[in-house]
Amino acid sequence: MPTLLSYTLVITGAPWSSQAPQTALTFARALIDAGHRLDRLFLYGEGVHLASALSAPPSDEPHWPQEWSAFLTEHRIAGVACIASALRRGLVDEREQARYELSAHNLRAPFQIAGLGEWVDGTLTSDRVMYFHGSA
């Protein structure tokens, strides 16, 4: 019986312009199946687009934001989008909408917006930190 480990996964590649969200999701499912724990998914840079509630791909195409949010919800895993990366790219929750007096909010549940401290915490507390980058 192998020692069970805890992981933080960081996605920096965006859906549709990279394979990163899909590779990370298949990996995340495999690590849960192996009995390990996923402490947190952290979205950084272009990776924050995965947390958009407004992505609407054609119905015969994969919907990575929807698949990831269903996975996070099912396993009660925290999904965090970096606040600075998210605000630049137009991803906001209700609180940031109010703060910046924006016309809408579009963060998909169960994602949250938080600072890079969440990533630093992952590097200090998870047994493994894995990065999923774009390939361009």
């Binding site: 020692t3 394979q19 990163a20 590779t23 690590l31 390990h36 390939s135």
Partner: protein
């Protein structure tokens, strides 16, 4: 953690062979390290110009997707579950 460092580093590479980071990765490997080719990096398996190190494995879903699985001879192909196992055994992982 329980894993010894002496089994080397796990390098996970997703860049195509003509990406600058691909060669930097290959030239940064030690003998005891393991290289995992994923996404566009699996194209190295069909690249006449790329010499891969001894401990190279490739993610099967990515080789199959690109029509490479039947022609692959240079590297063991692994599932995502086997990739998880590799991350269990390596406390040091670099994603290129």
């Amino acid at each position: 953690m329980k894993q010894a460092q002496d089994i080397g580093t796990l390098h996970i590479l997703n860049k195509a062979p003509d990406h600058p980071r691909f060669m930097t990765c290959l030239s940064s490997l030690s003998d005891q390290d393991t290289l995992v080719l994923i996404e566009n990096a699996v194209l190295a398996l069909s690249d006449a110009d790329t010499a891969l190190p001894r401990h190279t494995v490739a993610l099967e879903a990515d080789t199959e997707a690109r029509g490479l699985s039947a022609t692959v001879t240079g590297a063991q192909q692994i599932s995502h579950a086997q990739l998880v196992e590799l991350t269990e055994h390596h406390s040091r992982i670099i994603s290129w």
